[in-house]
């Protein structure tokens, strides 16, 4: 397993191999709303371009944690990730991007846009607070990697309610949380 350190320009391939279940086939489920949303993003792309370039927005297209820190507001998260139990098994995108191919790109676009906007306007909370939508993303990635281990915690029926992993494991990705 290669450990993704900030220096090694870890590519998607060199990212840690998650437990076997990740590969297990699953369908992404997304509705019409997301298509409308994707178009909306397209329209806004122009607005976002400036910061996207300035903030080295291409970092969103890479898996290298170092690229997130192109924005210094991400430095704390980088530092705490370095000290976390997952620094050698998961990079930022492993937890902050959905593991299904489409959700992944939509989230990238969405977050890329909103981070850039927030960064440009500077009107975000600091300490940064994760939004409910992105909380759901992290939850889904925990489950994706640990599905077998936490099998008993999964909902009885698809889509049912389950506990939040970070309710108990708040510091897995960021030490000291």
């Amino acid at each position: 397993m290669t450990s993704p350190s900030p220096e090694t320009n870890a590519s998607a391939e060199s990212a840690p191999t998650p437990p076997e279940n990740v590969a297990s086939g699953r369908k992404s489920s997304f509705g019409k709303g997301s298509i409308v949303f994707a178009i909306f993003l397209g329209l806004l792309a122009g607005v976002g371009t400036f910061t996207f370039g300035y903030g080295k927005g291409a970092s969103y297209l890479s898996n290298n944690p170092q690229t997130c820190v192109n924005c210094h507001v991400m430095q704390d998260h980088m530092d705490s990730w370095q000290k976390s139990s997952h620094h050698h098994v998961a990079v930022c995108n492993d937890c902050h991007l959905p593991h299904d191919p489409i959700g992944k790109w939509v989230t990238k676009a969405d977050n890329g846009f909103f981070h850039s906007l927030a960064f440009t306007l500077g009107d975000f909370k600091n300490p940064i607070q994760i939004k409910p939508r992105n909380k759901r993303v992290t939850q889904s990635t925990c489950v994706s990697c640990h599905e077998n281990f936490v099998h008993t915690m999964l909902p009885e029926t698809r889509g049912g309610d389950m506990q939040s992993c970070v309710h108990c494991h708040a510091s897995v990705g960021h030490a000291g949380r």
């Binding site: 992404s28 593991h99 489409i102 993303v137 889904s140 077998n148 009885e156 049912g160 309710h167």
Partner: protein
């Protein structure tokens, strides 16, 4: 929603043995779920039994805190009251307590000490004219029949209901020819907390189902129970139903809230959880204060003002508080932070390639590593010290409140001996009732204040205030009445 990958469902478990709604015997469940079953059996282990042998009873609270005898004077609790121990003992400990052997108790006692739902269902079906065959009893939960049976059982005697338990099949007992026992009585069991079909957790206890629906109808804010807010906001017509409306995290506390709560349990009314005004100590008190017993003939209010017992030393009608763990937890920071009873008392444990909820329900302080350290990254000794600090403060205030309470009793007794009139005593009795209720509330709650530390201290502070006010008021009673006996003596 595209951002969340819909959670996969739990794969249906391999069902080696069938279980259904009559399966109160945990053994067959244990075949399907050996890890949970083995841990469940360990609730029979207690550190204490290592000293006293398996059959000895847990330590008496009355001996440890002799003031309890005065608090409970005239009530069954004054003859026998012990520390709680593991779930395995709940039925046996109830059967041998002098509170049951020496005093006539109600059948409702078994609501929380036995796996009783199939018996409720059976009796309910009988009332409803449905023949309660084993098949019929096992088929479905049959809420309506359960509620019917629950109400019927509330009016029966303890011994009768204990006998009824064995007349209900338990899923395993095969009665010998001519044996009237179709099953055996079991303490809380898998079927009480789990749906036998899906294994989801659920609540089964009528007392809780009615109580939480009342709570939902109140306007107590309950920020720790978000589904109640959702239900209120939805303007739903149906009563709040925990099995439908609650989140899974809430259910992880609700299953315990079926029993670890304040109640009324004697035969003047059905078993009641007093939550119509909210979950705070004064909300519960208000419900009791506003309750009137039904008359002999069932007329509302015909039975006069609600009370639990007449305090023997003083003749005051008072309320008895029992183990309000759920209510006190509700006021604490952990509840607010979404931490459920199960998170601490049934923490996850790694078992090979999976994690399971520890079914060895016990004090988290015997299991600090799993129970606390996932959330609190400090040493076990530091966590122990934090709990000790909280419990020591509670203990110190409780001892102080106990002294105030006994001083009050002495003062009231003296006033009565000095011939104080009922009219004079009325406001004093009201203070006494409040004082005793609050002291009892925290001393009968089993976390020694941990579940909501500041709230526990507040309640004890109030208890002290009321006891001392009553004491002062008793001293202040018209010198005339009070001084009489002395004056008489002096002039002789």
């Amino acid at each position: 929603n595209i951002f969340e990958r819909k959670q996969e469902a739990r794969k249906p478990f391999v069902r080696l043995v069938e279980v259904n709604e009559v399966s109160t015997d945990p053994k067959p469940w244990g075949v399907n779920f050996p890890l949970q079953y083995e841990a469940y059996l360990r609730t029979a282990d207690t550190e204490r039994t290592e000293y006293g042998g398996n059959h000895s009873l847990p330590p008496s609270k009355l001996e440890k805190d002799p003031w309890l005898k005065r608090l409970f004077a005239g009530y069954a609790f004054s003859i026998d009251y012990r520390e709680a121990r593991g779930h395995a003992y709940m039925l046996g400990d109830q059967q041998v307590t002098k509170r049951v052997t020496d005093v006539q108790q109600a059948g409702a006692c078994l609501h929380c000490h036995a796996s009783i739902i199939p018996t409720y269902r059976r009796i309910g079906m009988e009332k409803m004219g449905i023949e309660p065959t084993e098949e019929k009893l096992g088929e479905a939960f049959a809420q309506e029949a359960v509620m019917e049976g629950f109400r019927a059982v509330s009016q029966m005697k303890y011994e009768e209901v204990a006998a009824e338990l064995t007349k209900t099949p338990d899923g395993t007992t095969k009665p010998a020819e001519g044996d009237p026992h179709l099953g055996a009585a079991h303490p809380v069991s898998c079927v009480d907390c789990h749906d036998p079909e899906t294994m989801s957790i659920r609540v089964t206890r009528p007392g809780f189902i009615e109580g939480i629906a009342k709570l939902a109808r109140s306007n107590d804010p309950v920020p720790h129970l978000p589904s109640i807010k959702r239900w209120r906001d939805s303007g739903a017509k149906e009563p709040y139903d925990p099995n439908v409306d609650a989140t899974r995290q809430e259910m992880r506390s609700f299953v315990c809230g079926q029993c670890h709560v304040e109640y009324y349990c004697a035969n003047k009314m059905t078993l009641t959880f007093p939550w119509s005004n909210g979950l705070k100590v004064e909300d519960l008190e208000q419900e009791w204060a506003e309750t009137e017993f039904p008359g002999e003939d069932g007329t509302a209010g015909g039975g006069g003002e609600f009370y639990d017992y007449v305090h023997k030393e003083t003749g005051t009608k008072v309320f008895k508080a029992q183990h309000p763990e759920f209510e006190l937890w509700s006021q604490g920071i952990h509840a607010r932070a979404g931490v459920s009873c199960s998170d601490c008392h049934m923490p996850y444990e790694k078992e090979g390639a999976t994690k399971v909820s520890s079914h060895w329900v016990r004090s988290p302080m015997l299991n600090i590593n799993k129970a606390c350290q996932t959330c609190h990254h400090v040493s076990e000794s530091e966590l122990q010290a934090r709990v000790d600090t909280i419990q020591d403060r509670t203990r110190a205030l409780m001892d102080r409140a106990a002294v105030a309470m006994t001083d009050m009793l002495d003062a009231i007794i003296a006033a009565q001996e000095a011939g104080a009139s009922e009219e004079d005593l009325k406001p004093i009795r009201d203070l006494q009732r409040k004082a005793m209720w609050r002291l009892d509330y925290i001393s009968s709650e089993n976390s020694k204040g941990f579940h909501a530390d500041q709230e526990a201290a507040r309640i004890l502070g109030e208890s002290i205030d009321y006891s001392r006010q009553a004491q002062a008021a008793a001293y202040k009673l018209p010198a005339g009445t009070k001084a009489q006996p002395e004056e008489v003596a002096a002039t002789e």
